[in-house]
């Protein structure tokens, strides 16, 4: 079902629930994996994904119909992730790198990375990035999202996003290179 069709059905109280169910089915995997890449843990990602769709339900009536629904949902998901990580840091008085270390521990416990040392080191390097830079990296590297769309999602200029991605790549390459030399 096309976004416009979903939105028209959502406006009608008689078909609202059906339309929203279609919307969740359409975007659930994208939202889940976008969130999961940021928070790593499945249970956290599950809670946040549900929170995102509850927010979508609450604010969809005021959504500008000329904007992209996909970008708008991504933006809500992004804000939820950043708020979650910031609140986690505040709650446990953790500095930046300790949250990265916690996420790294979760990745290391993942059996799917067993035997692939370079990939494991690469994931550690990504998780050491500051939250917002990691978000930019994920959107560009994994989702291959165009910079213009990323600018809409993050509310940042294209130039700033390009610079952020470039710095993120340099940091990752340096970390993996140094880790390889030390081993």
């Amino acid at each position: 079902m096309e976004d416009q069709e979903i939105l028209v059905k959502f406006d009608d109280p008689a078909t609202r629930n059906v339309a929203f169910n279609q919307l969740v089915r359409k975007y659930q995997q994208k939202v889940y994996w976008h969130v999961r890449k940021m928070v790593i843990d499945h249970d956290d990602a599950d809670d946040l994904t549900q929170d995102v769709f509850v927010k979508v339900w609450n604010h969809l009536a005021s959504f500008r119909r000329d904007a992209s629904l996909y970008t708008w949902i991504y933006r809500i998901a992004t804000n939820e992730c950043l708020s979650f990580l910031a609140s986690k840091r505040r709650k446990f008085f953790l500095p930046l790198h300790d949250v990265g270390a916690e996420l790294t521990a979760k990745v290391e416990a993942d059996a799917s990375l067993a035997g692939d040392e370079v990939e494991r080191t690469l994931q550690k390097a990504i998780l050491r990035l500051p939250d917002k830079q990691r978000l930019v990296f994920n959107l560009r590297y994994y989702d291959e999202m165009p910079y213009e769309q990323m600018a809409e999602v993050t509310g940042t200029s294209v130039g700033a996003l390009k610079a952020s991605y470039h710095h993120a790549v340099k940091k990752i390459e340096q970390y993996v290179t140094e880790a390889s030399l030390n081993n």
């Binding site: 629930n17 659930q28 999961r36 499945h42 549900q50 590297y141 030399l181």
Partner: protein, 146 residues
């Protein structure tokens, strides 16, 4: 590895190698979301959830301060004594209440009430204060009990 690591030379994955979610997770997720959405719609305090977190915190603080202020005002101005409160009630309302209540009070009882409220000696002693004094002075001293 002796050569510097280059990300563009590394095989690109569509997503990081994280464990897949539990089986049938995406089949069940829409119904779980719908469950939450419908329960929030029926919640009487749904509007609270729509407010931004800082505003919710400010609102909670305001309610707490309001509670303290009310307690302070009540301590400074204790409630009016019951007798004063009763005096401010119109007489007609009191009569209506007593007649309507289960106290077995009749209109005749209420009509006799003002007479009994007068000082008792006035009902049988028809004399002025000077006449009373004269009569007392005329009494022999040994017969008085003063």
């Amino acid at each position: 590895m002796n050569t510097p690591f280059r990300l563009d030379k590394h095989p690109r994955r569509s997503q990081p190698p994280l464990a897949s979610p539990p089986d049938r997770y995406f089949e069940q997720l829409p119904s779980r979301v719908m469950e939450r959405v419908t329960s929030e719609v029926n919640s009487p305090v749904r509007w609270l959830g729509l407010l931004p977190a800082p505003l919710r915190t400010a609102l909670a603080s305001l309610v707490l301060l309001g509670g303290f202020a009310t307690t302070y005002v009540l301590i400074q101005h204790p409630p009016t004594p019951p007798a004063d409160s009763l005096a401010s009630v119109p007489q007609q309302e009191l009569v209506d209440y007593l007649l309507a209540s289960d106290q077995r009070v009749t209109l005749t009882d209420l009509a006799e009430l003002p007479a009994t409220a007068q000082p008792l000696p006035e009902t049988y002693l028809q004399a002025s204060p000077s006449e009373v004094q004269d009569v007392l002075d005329a009494q022999p001293l040994e017969d008085t009990y003063l």
